[in-house]
Amino acid sequence: MTAGTSAPSETLDGPVLRAEGLAKSFGPVPALSGVDLLALPGRVTGFVGPNGAGKSTTLRILTGLVRADRGTATIDEVPYAALSRPSQVLGVVGDLAGAHPGMTPRGHLQTQAALIGVPREWVGQVLHETGLHDVAGRRIRGFSTGMKQRLALATALLGRPSGLILDEPTEGLDPSGIVWLRRFLRTFADAGGTVLVSSHVLTELQQVIDDLVLIAGGRSLWSGSLADFTAEHASLEEAYLSMIEKEMACAG
């Protein structure tokens, strides 16, 4: 990624991301049993919780990939699938393996550009923005995890959305990539965009988020500003561990 580039120069009209009372089971296994979430324009919202808490399931329900058994998930008051041009409202980074290994990044992004109805010229810009322009003609099957993550980001940014959902976006990124992403997300939100980011790297997350949603065991534990959450603790990590331990003690 090219540090210092790609900050949105115009004002963004970010969407409101909202989930209320989400419940979901996969067969007999309950995944969610009451998740509420709110991510607002101009804010970076962190979405945290232990492994298996239901973060990815919640994000997949928000983006229409998984159907909730109960509850609602909306982007500006409508389900993702009902958006007229969804990829121009919300960019999603959710799966490293989102591109065919036999394709090149340029071919993959040209395919996506056609699918979402944006000009092909935007492909070159997003390749440059994410630092993939030098490898745009190489087959994806030879890519490292970090390179695939950059491609996932490029795919999410291709539609020039005003909102972003990112599930573990720093996975595999090198330090310069992580710094670039942090600056990008901050600038994106400051321009009016909405950012919802899930991560286990709390020290990294603390540097960029404004708000926090914490879930565990498939239900919401806390939602509000980062400042309120960490008010009585030295760091996000400490506050998080304290709340999770209390929850486990109650559950046990």
Binding site: F26, T57, R60, T63, G64, L65, V66, R67, Y80, A81, L83, P86, S87, V92, G94, D95, A97, G98, A99, H100, P101, G102, M103, T104, G107, H108, Q110, T111, Q112, A113, A114, L115, I116, G117, T155
Partner: protein, 268 residues
Amino acid sequence: MRRLNDAVRGETVRLTRTRLPLWTLLTAAGCGGVLTGIVGLTGPENATPPMPGLDTVEGVSAVLSLLGVTLFAPALIGTVAITGEYRHRTVATTFLAVPKRGVVLTAKLLVYGALGLAYGLVLALSAVIGIYAGTVVNGIEAGLGLTAILGTSVRYGIAAAIYMLLGVSIGAVARHQLLAIGITLGYFYLVDNLVMILPGINIAYPYLPGGATASLTGSTALLEMIAAETGLAGPVIQTPLLGALVLLLYVLAASALAAVVSLRRDVV
């Protein structure tokens, strides 16, 4: 409509950014020209057991009927087209770009329908070339005229195009690549042939994919042989147009099933 246009453009770009079109057309030439060419050049009468020569109506018809054996190839290409999305986990990216999943399936059917027609055209033309190469090398005249050979070849070409669509729709129902390939091969080479020979049940044969294909292509040699060997009356074959329509109905039925059941499943 705009969403479908975008989806069709996207699927077209996706197809042309891989080597699949090249391999598809090479496969068509192999199944058409190479197969009929080899049999034609070596002479069907030299096969074991001997077949009628290319200078007879039966000989040319028998060589053309070999095209029917290769129809699994376009079906498999169609199957892989959609199950590959699940295998390589690209389906989430596709559904994020085009959340209306029925639109994705419709776009794939349209794009692979066009690829299937290209496959069928190469299959038909190369088969004609293969047969005529055999007659020229062996110094004989084909037992059927060019119009009749071309007509039959084109019917096999149309069957190949519809089989590619069948593959796409079966892939959409099954989602899992190996399962879809197993269903495709298992049905066309086991179930269909069993139904053809079971007395009482075989009255349904003309309305099953294999029977409809026989109607479309006019390939009745196998049915006649079974009737001659067993003394059982062979199933009544329909017109080529009805055969094509029956096959297309299977495409529609499988696609509708996929839209109602498989495509609605969670992408996890």
